[in-house]
Amino acid sequence: MAETKTYREALREAMVHEMDRDESVILMGEDIGVYGGTHLITDGLYDKYGPRRVIDTPISENGFTGAAVGMAMMGMRPVVEMMTWNFSFLAADQIIQNAAKVRYFSGGQVKVPLVIRGPNGGGVQLSAQHTHSLESFYGHFPGLKVVAPVTPNDAKGMMLTAIRDDNCVIFLEAGALYGTKGEVEEGDNAVPFGKARIAREGSDVTLIAYGRQVNLCLRAAETLEEEDGVDAEVIDLRSLRPFDEDAIVESVKKTHRAVAVEEQWRWFGVASEVAAIIQEKAFDYLDAPVERVSGAETPAPYARNLELLAFPSEKEVANAARWALYMEEK
């Protein structure tokens, strides 16, 4: 059974599912309670669960994230909302120095079953300080898990998995897509981490993305089919740490060509990692260099036209695929 729901509703459904099942699950964040959440993800939950389980925090990211680490070390399962992931820089000491490392430096004596969630990336003209894609930043730290679902069904299923995980999960929501709809399975549809999803089967080139760039790749794949007769495969990585290397390698063995797409800056990013993995594990199968499509090397601009230029477009992805297929000169 499946029902059409928004990404936002799917996330809420997952939290309700786990809060009903497990009293140790609580929610924390700025304006998530009485106000209902800036993005309305937690709307109605304060009335349902009360102030001890749906905790409105002051605007104080380092403090409340650190408190959530302490709660998690005691066996609670806090789900912390970052109003945007940009604000997590204020809590970086708690996330990186404590949540990611305390299990290790305690010699395995504690666990930190903590989810930190919120909208990642740009696309809605929030300009430089409210727009940032943090996947490679957090993906860099051992001790953290980093996931980025794009479909409503994955938003729910991966949130269930995140809350049940005994580690700190960085849950990067596709913030620009909160209102998009999709089929969501009823009940417990937990999606395991570390398994990519083939979003579109194809044989000529592999487009690899995560988060909202997956939709871009799907549209580019249609264009390629219509305009060029190219059959592109689209892989939705879903989870960046752990990372499904096999899915990429298998696909490239089939298509022999790859394009890695990311919204964030190119330097030291996820697309670089994807390209390196393909080079290490599928070099002999490659018929062309791996192409990368990334965000512009600038802080995010406000103006709509500039913002559109700053992030990857369907056209850039299609062009990169054509380069990988030697259909066009760079």
């Binding site: 609580i26 102030p51 001890r52 925090t57 002051p58 104080s60 380092n62 403090g63 409340f64 994230t65 650190g66 408190a67 959530a68 680490v69 302490g70 709660m71 998690a72 070390m73 005691m74 066996g75 609670m76 000491d93 708690q94 120095q97 404590n98 305390v102 299990r103 290790y104 430096f105 305690s106 010699g107 395995g108 004596q109 504690v110 666990k111 930190v112 079953p113 051992p142 001790g143 898990k145 995980d165 005994d166 580690n167 740490r241 752990p242």
Partner: protein, 349 residues
């Protein structure tokens, strides 16, 4: 040397008024013994550090013994303790053996956290120690979260949260104290803040680091009641600790104590040049050495004689020598430990 449980339950400690003697002669002698052991332990690890046997940083508690000893005397099984990087005495007082602690400093597999944390990260979760942390102020929000959880889980346990004077200037302190005050209104934050004010954040004195030097009074901003205690005087600390601990336990609200103490030893064992303070100043504080003061009291009262005092010192010395031998003879962690404990539930990612 586990802390005595339940001593405060029988009403003979803490229930008495201000200035009352907060312990029996037997207890006092036992606490004296613990302080002597801590001092001997710290002396020994400083020696080992200078011999190059201990790596990294090493921050000893010399001069501050009365603070941890007094407060952890009020610890009850099930309470939690969290502190910063000057954490050896907290581990020892909660019952970790000197051997386990020394082996950790030596980076051995028999260490308290298997050689993965070293001096700054002693954990003994079974005995209530939720860790030593290396970032000044970074553990304070964590401690407040521990306190919330204890209430959320319907226990009557509390958190003893030790922090230094240096941590007071960190945003993490102010954010955490605000949360504690807020949650305390709902009786959801049984957290006892214990400021170990040893006068210096590394080499910068409190006067040169904080605009308003009344550290306890900073808690006024967060609706948290507070007091100061003479951190060199074990009896004063004991009285305060038992009273404050029970107050937090009964109310579910935070409370803060600023213990005025002094770090006689350098900030870190590698800091030989103490340009930031005078020899005279250190000597002046040495006159109020917390161990010497208890020793004098025990001798004056006739509860211990010179001979017994000497025996206690020799016992401590032997115990620490044994700890050093244990640490030296222990094996290093096996190579496969490099990748364990990164993620819960799996060997590695």
């Amino acid at each position: 040397m586990p802390a005595k449980d339940g001593r405060s339950e029988n009403g003979d400690v803490g229930a008495r008024g201000e200035g009352a003697v907060a312990t029996t002669p037997e207890n006092l002698a036992e606490l004296y013994q613990k302080m002597v052991l801590i001092r001997a332990f710290e002396d020994a690890c400083q020696r080992a550090f200078r011999q190059g046997k201990i790596g990294g940083y090493l921050h000893v508690y010399t001069g501050e013994e009365a603070v941890a000893t007094g407060f952890l005397d009020a610890y009850r099984e099930g309470d939690r303790v969290i502190t910063a990087y000057r954490d050896h005495p907290h581990a020892l007082l909660l019952g970790a053996s000197p051997g386990e602690v020394m082996a950790e400093l030596y980076g051995k597999r028999t260490g308290l956290v298997k050689g993965k944390g070293g001096s700054m990260h002693l954990f003994d979760v079974k005995r209530g120690l939720m860790g030593g942390y290396g970032i000044v102020g970074g553990h304070i929000p964590v401690g407040v979260g521990l306190a919330y959880a204890l209430k959320y889980q319907n226990t009557d346990h509390i958190v003893q949260l030790f922090l230094g004077d240096g941590a007071i200037n960190q945003g993490a302190f102010h954010e955490a104290a605000n949360l504690a005050g807020l949650w305390g209104k709902d009786e959801m934050c049984p957290c006892l803040f214990i400021i170990e004010n040893n006068q210096y954040g590394m080499g910068t004195s409190v006067e040169r680091a904080t605009a308003m030097t009344d550290l306890a009074a900073k808690f006024d901003s967060y609706a948290i009641e507070h007091e100061k205690v003479d951190g060199m005087d074990l009896l004063a600390v004991l009285e305060c600790a038992h009273r404050a601990t029970e107050r937090v336990r009964e109310s579910g609200r935070p409370y803060a104590v600023e213990a005025i103490t002094y770090r006689i030893a350098p900030h870190g064992a590698a800091d030989f040049l103490e340009k930031y303070r005078t020899k005279e100043e250190v000597e002046k504080w040495r006159e109020r050495d917390p161990i010497g003061m208890v020793e004098k009291r025990l001798l004056d009262s006739g509860d211990l004689d010179e001979e017994r005092i000497e025996e206690i010192k020799q016992e401590a010395k032997r115990e620490v020598e044994e700890a050093v031998r244990f640490a030296e003879e222990s094996e290093e962690p096996p190579a496969e430990e490099l990748y364990t404990d990164v993620y819960a539930g799996e060997g590695e990612e």
